[in-house]
């Protein structure tokens, strides 16, 4: 529950969250663009039509945790282009799948101009829109994974059906027809995220209304929930304070740990404070000192695998986490200057608010 003193912190956190969140219009704009791309790939006289391709978002745009890019940067929208039938590891190589998608994109006058680099990146094709939208669409070609590896108790029904194979130019079997492909399960992860968030929010509400028998059903939130805002604030704090560091904590680790540590809190202050205090409890440390942040839909995948070969990444993660916990200590001190402390932590310029009297206001109008 929010105390009177914490209300000010809550208000300021909400304000920063509002400033950094990607506006709803932007989500809708991105949706329009990738749906249009999906139509080009799947319909008309497309040679891909028989494979029934489907485009869906992954990453922060799918999770509702996207934040505005830093000055001069673009909105990165990650997409999967999944060929739902007719293609599998016995009849196509990674290279051929990548080429199929690339050729269809290049057959479109406009898309072909937006493709950068022209030969494609390591795992995806990227469309760089040069209008005011500042979108970069990363399209990963994929086929269904019929050999899923998952830990039974750790997935929710449906996760295993959504596992996919994706292409990777650096993979040893890139040019060959083989069962050995790079695995992923973005849809499974997205489902896990929303179900965790929903379950925890319901549980929290149930405990608040212990006496009541009927608990209202939450509508299916896509964006703007407390957990999503908390993740946005964590990512933004990381960008401001460690943005130029190549060893900065990666978003998937932040998102996974925050979701695990989240306890259904209904206000940002409590959610963030508790997430920061408890996130590290969800990092497993094995007997031989290997740190694991397990992919909740694929127990064989460790998001923190690079911490082993590069211990600095681990150090930076804990340094960042420590700075967050320090921030909360500062905020909870008596007579703390909430506004200034948070503005400093989030690198915001302190803009004085001049008192203005509006006496003769003009109605908004445009041609």
């Amino acid at each position: 529950m929010l105390t009177k003193e914490n209300c000010e912190i809550e208000k300021k956190l909400e304000q920063i969250a509002q400033d950094i969140a990607v506006p709803e219009d932007k989500y809708k704009d991105a949706e329009k663009r990738y749906e249009a791309l999906g139509e080009w790939l799947a319909e008309g006289n497309s040679e891909l039509k028989e494979y029934n391709p489907k485009i869906y978002p992954q990453g922060s745009f799918a999770l509702g945790s996207a934040i505005k890019p830093q000055e001069g940067c673009e909105y990165d929208v990650d997409l999967i282009c999944l060929f739902q039938k007719g293609l599998n590891t016995s009849n196509i190589s990674q290279k051929e799948l990548k080429r199929l998608v690339g050729d269809r994109i290049k057959a479109h006058g406009t898309y072909s101009k937006l493709l950068d680099p022209k030969e494609g990146s390591r795992r995806c094709w990227t469309l760089k829109y040069n209008d005011e939208s500042k979108f970069h669409l990363d399209i990963l070609p994929a086929i269904p994974d019929e050999w899923t590896h998952f830990s039974e108790e750790k997935y929710r029904a449906g996760a295993m059906n959504q596992a996919i194979f994706i292409t990777d130019k650096k993979h040893r079997e890139y040019e060959n027809i083989t069962k050995d492909w790079l695995k992923s399960n973005p849809q499974g992860y997205i489902n896990w995220f929303y179900s965790q968030m929903h379950d925890k929010m319901m549980k929290n509400q149930k405990s608040l209304l212990a006496a009541s028998e009927s608990v209202k059903e939450f509508p299916s939130y896509k964006r703007g929930t407390t957990l999503q805002k908390a993740i946005q604030l964590l990512k933004y704090h990381r960008d401001i304070n460690f943005g130029h560091d190549e060893d900065k904590p990666i978003s998937i680790i932040i998102t996974t740990l925050a979701t695990k540590a989240y306890n259904g809190e209904d206000n940002l202050f409590d959610a963030l404070k508790n997430i920061c205090a408890n996130m590290q409890n969800y990092i497993e440390i094995s007997a031989n000192n290997v740190y694991r942040v397990e992919n909740p839909v694929n127990s064989k995948e460790n998001f923190a695998d690079k911490w082993q070969e590069n211990p600095r990444k681990r150090e930076i993660f804990f340094k960042w986490l420590n700075s967050l916990n320090q921030l909360f200590k500062e905020l909870l001190k008596e007579n703390a200057d909430i506004s200034q402390t948070l503005d400093n932590a989030y690198g915001r310029k302190i803009v004085p608010k001049k008192s203005v009297v509006l006496s003769d206001t003009v109605k908004p109008w445009s041609l």
Binding site: D19, P352, K353, V356, L358, V362, K363, W365, S366, L367
Partner: protein
Amino acid sequence: MRYYNIKGEFKALQKEYPCLELKYGDDFYVIEGFIGFSTVISDKKIEDEYKIKLHIPKNYPKNMISAYEAGGRISPAPDNHRNSDGTLCTGLPVEVARILAPNYRLIDYVEKILIGYLAQYSYFEKFKHWPFGEAAHGTEGIVEYYKERYNLPDTKSVLDFLKMLQSCIQNRQKGYKRCRCGCGKLYKNCKRQRKILKYGQKSYDYLSDIKAIEDWLKSAATPSYPSC
């Protein structure tokens, strides 16, 4: 063309709004940075800050300032009164002229026009409606404004009135010539001319509004044929 002291005007502006910078472009001056304000609208406290950019034409105030919100907060949508080119819908040109004339000071533009819009937007974000209403887009908004201001019944009478106003303004510029209304005096002394001029906005050029309304009437009158 009267000389506009952009440096002096900016200095006075920056004193009140220190998070702004002035740059010199080819076709216009650019002011960018942050504006913070605290005000009251309909008894509600509105406190906010925005990242903004202003393009000031070199012949300002002949051509008006274009204002942009540079923080990505106001997206292009008709409800938001933000045009697709990024400019903010800061009001009818004749109203802006009424408020800023005769000196068109930069600080007045920022406080009365720009903050006037931004504070209304902050209110709209919170309470989901524009506090003082909205003018209809395009020429319809222009006509509505004049109908209300001069208590005129329809578009035709607005057009006639504006043409008369514009004629008086042009007559005034004829200097020491005899007025043609039959009063026998010079234009500058004719009582009828002076009375009409009092209604108008000094040094505002009504020609663009007149043309917009004429075009609007023409397009409304032209029947549209169904395509074969």
